[in-house]
Each structure stands twice: as C-alpha cells, then as structure tokens.
C-alpha cells in the first residue's frame, strides 16, 4: 500500500480486521460443511461401522477426520468462489469513496486531497463490528449479518450431530430378549421338540455383539411397522449374550417352532402385550 495519505493507515488497520473476519468465516464454513458431512455419515451408519470394526484403532475416528478434511477443503472452495473484496464490507457510499481514493492514492490533486481527508474521517469511525455487520444474507425483505447466521448454523448443526450421536449410542439391555428365550424353552417342553443340531462354528464365532436397532423399541409405537436402522445403534456390548446367541443363530431358516398364542402373549412384558397382539392379528388378516 504505497502513497502518503493518512487514510491508508486506517485502511491497513481495517484490512487486518477484515482478514481475521474472513479467516473466521472460512473456519465457520469449514465447521458447517464438516458437520453436514458427519451428520450424513451418522445417518448412513458409517461412524458405527468404523467403531465396530476398528474400535481400538485410530480408524474408529476416521469419519470425524474425513469430515474435517472435507470441511476445510469445502471452506477453501467457498472462499475462492465467493471472491471476497474488502471494500464490499464498508457501507455503499464509503465503499465507492474508499475504492476511488485507494485507486488514486498516487495522485496529488486538490480533489484527491479532499477525498482522502473525507475517507480518513469516515474510516476512523469504522470498527470490527461494522465490517462484520455489512456482509449480510438476504431472506426476502429481511437480512442477517453473515457472521451471526453462520454461528447460528454451527450451533444448530452441533446440536443435531450430538443428538444423533447420543441416539446411536443407546445401550440395549438383554432383558427384553430373555422372555423370548424362556418362551422357546417352554415351547420345546410343550411339544417335545428335540434340540436342534448346534452349528458349532457359528456359535463359537458369536461374540455377543448385537448389530441393529431392537425391534421392541419400535413395537412400543402405535405404528406397527418394523424398521431397522442400519448401524444406528450398533457398537454396544451385551453383558449376557449366551441365550441370545442360541436364539438367533441355531435355528435353521424355515424351521419354525409353533407357539400357542396365549402362551406367547403371556410371556411378553404386560405393557407390550396389547400392541404385539394387534400386530399378529393384523398379520393374520393380511394387513
């Protein structure tokens, strides 16, 4: 910045403020993009997948790291694409004045001196707040400072990410499954069904990990749809896994065990009985 006009010192000061502001916007953009990517990954079950297979390794944190890297890259692209200009951060008349004064800083005319004095007087009153408030996002007739809008977006996305994460980490107690195991034993006794052959290899390999969201949680709803959220509840450990292993792994596909309805209903937790009953009634009527 050559030239000897005093307004150039104010311009230098504001340029420093502006660069810090641009840096903050860049970081906010990066955080917003990273959060969006991470939230999308949560819904796709990617973080759970990584935690499931690489729980003790740094790869478990790979989705977070990838989101951050892509966020930073996206922030850079946005900055290049928006082509920010310092003069646009001043109010309209001051922006035009300052541009003209800066572009003619090597001129020594009477008019230029008058302009330089005026620009100096006005720039000395401009601070960081004015620089931040002059860049605005328009929503119809209303507008909000870009900085505030982006901080708001970051807070909102952080809340969504934390909420999604906490939902995904919900632990399931094996208690709801115990009733089914007991029911199976009682059914075997009742109908004299022999123990199905064990598939040793598969039972040995079962580690007690349960992958998927339990259907019981869904059955509590009035809506009887069975929904499996892929990966969104994976990664927890069941403390008592043995009965569960057998229940899910030793039955051959297509080999069902008939259970009298009343017996089955009785075995259910009282609060779920009515809804599960309705579920089977609906199934029977071809609903």
């Amino acid at each position: 910045m050559d030239g000897s006009y005093e307004f150039l010192a104010d311009l230098r000061r504001l340029l420093g403020v502006y660069r810090r502001f641009e840096q903050s916007l860049y970081l906010l953009n990066a955080v917003i993009i990273a959060s969006l990517i991470y939230i999308a990954a949560l819904f796709l079950g990617i973080p759970a997948f990584f935690r499931f297979y690489w729980q003790d390794s740094i790869f478990a944190a790979a989705p977070v790291l990838f989101s951050l890297v892509f966020g930073l890259l996206g922030g850079k692209i946005l900055r290049r694409w928006s082509k920010p200009d310092f003069f646009d951060h001043l109010d309209e008349s001051l922006s035009e004045k300052t541009r003209a004064a800066y572009d003619n800083r090597d001129s020594d005319s009477v008019v230029m001196q008058s302009l330089a004095e005026d620009v100096k007087r006005r720039l000395s009153k401009v601070g960081a707040i004015e620089i931040m408030n002059n860049r605005r996002l328009n929503f119809g007739d209303r507008s909000v400072p870009v900085f505030q809008a982006k901080v708001g977006a970051v807070l909102l996305l952080a809340f969504v990410a934390i909420f999604s994460q906490s939902q995904a980490g919900e632990e399931i107690s094996p208690q709801p499954f115990r009733a089914l195991a007991d029911l199976r034993e009682r059914a075997k006794d009742l109908f004299g069904v022999e123990e199905l052959p064990e598939e040793g290899a598969s039972s040995e390999e079962i580690s007690g990990e349960i992958y998927g969201k339990p259907s019981l949680a869904v059955l509590e709803e009035v809506n009887l749809e069975l929904v499996l959220y892929p990966g969104s509840a994976a990664g927890f450990r069941s403390k008592e896994t043995e009965p569960m292993d057998r229940l899910f792994t030793t039955s051959e596909p297509g080999v069902g065990v008939a259970v009298p309805t009343d017996l089955y209903i009785e075995s259910l937790p009282p609060q779920h009985r009515e809804i599960i009953k309705r579920y089977f009634e609906n199934l029977a009527t071809g609903y």
């Binding site: 035009e96 541009r99 003209a100 572009d103 005319s109 008019v111 008058s114 302009l115």
Partner: protein, 316 residues
C-alpha cells in the same frame, strides 16, 4: 495556481448553484437538460441538442453563455451557408500604400459557438466545423489559427425526419461529447413559461462565473478520482456496443474517454469528490446514443439507441 484551484474547488458548489439559479430565471424546468449541458462545459466537450421546434434550445444555450460571460457567437445554419462563413476568410487590405492579406475571423472564433439548426447546413459546411471541434484550430489557406480555450460548440437540431435537413455524418456526430434530448414541459412548467413570457419584461441573467474560474473547474473535473472498477465498467459498456445484438456499428474509444470525463464532471457538479456508479449510468445515454448505429432490423422493430444502452448498462 494551486491556491486558485483550492479556492475554486471550495466555491464550486456555490458557483454551480448560482449558475443553475440564473438559468432557472429564464429556462423553466429542464433540470436534467441543464445538468447535461453543464457537464459538457465542465468536460470541455461539444453538445448536440435535439428537440422539436419551439422548446427553447437556442434560448437555453444563449442563457448558459450569458451566465459564463464568455465570448459567444451564433451561427444560424441554412442550406446556403458556406464554410468560410464559419471559419473566416482572408481579405486584401491596403495598409500604408501597400496591399496586405488580413485574416478576418469567422464566428467560430468564440468561446461558445451556437450552431443553430446545424442539420440545415449542407454537409460541406457541417464538415468545416470538424477540425475546429476536434483540434480546436482552424486552417485557412496555409495558415492555422488556434481557437481560444475554453471552446465549445453547442449545436441544436430538429429531428432528422423533418423536411429540409441533412443528417450529420457519423464522423461529425462522434465529435459531440453529448447528445441531449429536450422534451416537452409539463403542464405546470408550461403555465410558468406563459406567465414569464407574456408580461412586459423578460427575465435577464447575470454573469456569475469568470473565464478563469471555468478553466479551473475544467481542470478540477479531470482530477476527480474514479475507481479502477468503474473505469473498467465504462470500458466494458463501450466495448459491449460493438457486438450487441441489433447494433450495426458500436462506438469508438472516444466514447470511453467521453463517458469517464462526463461522469467526473457530473460528480463535481453534484458536489462529490469521487465518481460513483450512478454518474456512469446517468451519463451513458447522452454520451453513447448518437454514436450507436442500429441495424435496419432494429430500426424496423422500433428499437432505440437508448433502449440498447439501458440493456447494456443493466448487463455490466
């Protein structure tokens, strides 16, 4: 010299207000027309005024000349007007018994030249003004005579569709910095005109600016800062005319110079020490309209140069 400039610069807003006030004594309304003519004077360019007869073109130019106190001459253009009637001629005189040639200056040797109804003059006579307008000099025989600064030609013309007129050639039109249209006054303005000019006395104007002050203002006009962005926008607008749909021939680089100078003059006239976008947009029409030649198809469809310029301005 610099002190003079500083003083004139400080007084400029008052000077302009006084000039406008004096002109307002004679000319009712037409504020934008007056502004554009003053822009032409500050930028040191020639102005072409066009309107139907009876709208006060000649009166306006005479009034402006009267406020400046500059040498003023009027040429009433007719089909039989000869070039020498404008530039002057060499006479043989007898001085102390011997015969000598003496150059008799024509009406072009004035600070403000009103070429009234210029499109009634023959093309030969019109082109005689070319050198004077561009070079600010006149060549008669082997001698070249400089014209005194400031020098402006203010030409008036009736619309070319009217009978007995010769359209100005493109080369001469390009010498005019501005082409200003004068429109009919509003009913209230017309009432005021009737009131003023049907009484016993007609309004008179005073000289409110000296030649020296005017020259200083012209120098200050050139010093008005303009940002590089606006310079580029002006050039882009000018270049756009060369390949714009419906335009046969675009404008020359002289228009870029004119547009920036006129914008600076408008800024100074409005008491601003920098050029803004509004100056550029306002001056684009009077600067470019007479330099654009539309295609036959555009003219057939009733497209005007002003419409083309407005579209160009919107696009930059």
């Amino acid at each position: 010299m610099r002190d003079d400039l500083i003083n004139v610069y400080k007084d400029a807003p008052a000077i302009f207000e006084t000039i406008k006030g004096e002109i307002g004594k004679v000319v009712v309304g037409q504020k934008s027309v007056v502004e554009q003519i003053l822009v032409g004077i500050l930028a040191g360019g020639h102005t072409l005024l066009e309107s139907n007869p009876g709208l006060g073109k000649t009166l306006l130019v005479k009034t402006i000349a009267a406020t400046t106190g500059l040498d003023f001459s009027r040429i009433q253009c007719t089909p039989d007007l000869m070039p020498a009637d404008i530039t002057g001629t060499t006479l043989i005189e007898e001085v102390e018994g011997s015969k000598v040639f003496r150059f008799e200056e024509g009406p072009i040797f004035a600070n403000i030249v009103l070429a009234d109804e210029i499109n009634r003059a023959s093309p030969r006579t019109q082109s005689a003004m070319l050198e004077a307008m561009q070079e600010k000099q006149v060549t008669v025989g082997k001698n070249t005579y400089r014209l005194e600064e400031p020098f402006f030609v203010m030409a008036t013309q009736n619309p070319i569709e009217m009978e007995g007129t010769f359209p100005l050639p493109e080369a001469q039109l390009d010498r005019f910095l501005l082409k200003v249209f004068i429109d009919y006054p509003s009913p209230d303005e017309e009432y005021e005109i009737v009131e003023r000019y049907t009484g016993h006395s007609e309004p008179k104007v005073d000289r409110v600016i000296t030649r020296r002050e005017l020259l200083s203002l012209q120098q200050l006009t050139r010093d008005v800062p303009i940002s590089d962005d606006l310079k580029r926008a002006a050039i882009k607008a000018v270049i756009s005319t060369r390949n714009w749909e419906g335009v046969e021939y675009g404008v020359s680089p002289r228009a870029s110079i004119g547009l920036i100078l006129a914008s600076k003059a408008r800024a100074l006239l409005n008491g601003r020490d920098y050029v803004n976008r509004e100056d550029l947009e306002t001056m684009a029409r009077p600067i470019l309209r007479h330099r654009i030649i539309l295609t036959f198809d555009s003219e057939r469809r009733g497209v005007t140069a002003d419409q083309v310029i407005s579209n160009i301005i919107k696009s930059i």
